[in-house]
């Protein structure tokens, strides 16, 4: 198959796994809104309103991060329970195209939620077209990082029962503990560097930059909170996760 037929195949997978599912099982994608909206509501009630924009960018980032959770559960489910990954890799389709198609399908699911959060953001802070472009860029970067990690994790599962608890642990701790929903300034200055052990911190700092919210620099490692470093951090982690996933993926069991 030429690269053009591979590209077409990737689009087909995204179409039937993402868009068709979105159209047929609308109840499922409401679930995507539910968690980040609840956090936002919680912030709105208990926190000073100056924190609210961070909660909205947090909602965007949470949604983008959770594409990784979807990727992990869906890929493991299709391989272990439905045996459909096997049907697709025993074909001219390249394994990489399968991963990309699935990852795009996960992204398709989040479009309504991210659109809604962008709309809310425009209400709470003045944002221009550039900010929207920046935020969409950050969402794409986060999606790449998160789905790479999700696929990597999916390769470890040997049976279905393991998926759900691990997904909850990994992706909840990535999106709730680090400064995704709250500003990093809330962490005492001397300890902020700890947050950078989580890839989601890079992502949400970038999102805050893009939305024009104020982001303090880190006193211990001042360079950490700058846009090039954040982008580089995310790209490196994405490549690392993707490379590991390709090595560990069970296209062929040992």
């Amino acid at each position: 198959m030429t690269w053009r037929t591979q590209a077409n195949a990737i689009w087909r997978i995204c179409y039937f796994y993402g868009f068709l599912a979105l159209r047929r099982q609308p109840l499922l994608f409401i679930a995507i809104f539910l968690t980040p909206l609840s956090f936002l509501f919680f912030l709105y009630v208990v926190a000073p309103h100056s924190v609210l924009p961070y909660g909205v960018t947090g909602g965007i980032m949470f949604t983008a991060l959770f594409t990784g959770n979807g990727m992990m559960t869906d890929c493991a489910y299709l391989r272990l329970e439905r045996q459909l990954q096997q049907v697709f890799v025993t074909s001219p389709l390249r394994p990489m195209s399968w991963i990309l198609g699935m990852a795009l399908g996960e992204l398709a699911w989040t479009i309504p939620a991210i659109g809604l959060f962008l709309f809310v953001l425009a209400i709470v802070v003045p944002i221009g077209a550039l900010a929207v472009v920046g935020l969409v860029g950050v969402v794409l970067l986060t999606w790449l990082l998160s789905t790479s990690l999700g696929f990597l994790l999916s390769t470890f599962f040997r049976q279905l029962r393991e998926i759900w608890p691990i997904g909850a642990v990994v992706f909840t701790s990535l999106s709730v503990l680090p400064p995704v929903f709250y500003p990093i300034a809330a962490i005492p200055a001397d300890y902020r560097w700890v947050a950078f052990f989580s890839p989601s911190t890079f992502a949400s700092q970038l999102a805050d930059h893009a939305a024009g919210l104020s982001v303090p620099t880190i006193s211990v490692l001042p360079g950490l909170s700058s846009i090039p470093v954040e982008v580089a951090g995310m790209v490196v982690l994405t490549l690392l996760f993707a490379a590991m996933a390709m090595r560990l993926a069970r296209w062929r069991e040992p």
């Binding site: 195949a9 087909r12 039937f16 329970e81 045996q83 096997q86 049907v87 890799v89 025993t90 074909s91």
Partner: protein, 310 residues
Amino acid sequence: MEALVARTLSKTYQGTSGIVRALDSVEMTIAKGRLFSFLGRNGAGKTTFIKIASALLLPTAGSIQLFGIDVVEHAREIRERIAIVPQEGKPFYHLTPREHVEEYLRVRGATRETARSRADEVLEDMGLLPYQHIPAMVLSGGLQQRTLVAMVLATEAPFLFLDEPTLGMDPFARRQVWDVIRHAARKGSTVLLTTHYLDEAEQLSEELAVIEGGHVLYQGTPDALKSKVRQEIRLHFDTGFTREELAAYGEVFVERGGLTLLTTRNRAEELTRRSLERKVAINVGPVTLEEAFLTLVGRAIEEEDPEALA
């Protein structure tokens, strides 16, 4: 040209309770365009063989080639030429049978027109037209299985692996699927299928292999298998004879609340006379593939472990 050649192919799994020898020096040759069946008890190694041949599993030792291409070394070239129905695979929840077929073909590189016309054909042949627009999640189990088989058969791939393709299908559906499989073979595909329905294997296969404990016990035509067990007549007794008495005449099974004996024509005639003397009812017929299979595998198990069948 041969479609498949396996030489001293072996696979050992690291199971939780020690190592499992799933395949043990298997030699196998399948001619191009052949409709070939694997028969064997649960755990005999059929799925393991299919997974290795379709580049889904690495062998521990030995070699295997499809169309002269090494499966271990050249997985990518192999994948261009195959399609597989995995054992206990299931379709996507939210897609209809038609979408399964069309989208799968398009992912494999077919044009929209080709995908559509092949879907028309296979959905009709497999009796799926009435359900073609219903999402798989609300289809019955057998219809879901038919959907999966349809999407794979529609590929017309040069080598089709079908691991228990008719599982859970009703007798009408199975016959429709047999026709589609035969059609694929006539069009030039080589088909390797596994089944536990021996009538299916008898109807469908031009050639078959019997596997037991990772060994190939037999490879040849279904008819040759029946003559290999050297018993051609099947007698069934509800009462009137003991197992020990019958054992002197051939292979005996406990079946349907009575005893089934596989024996030669001469001995069958003798037993028929004796049953007339004793005034007991008997049921006589030719040996089926199922009985030949039971005999062949039964003998192998007995040699290995005489207690196992007692």
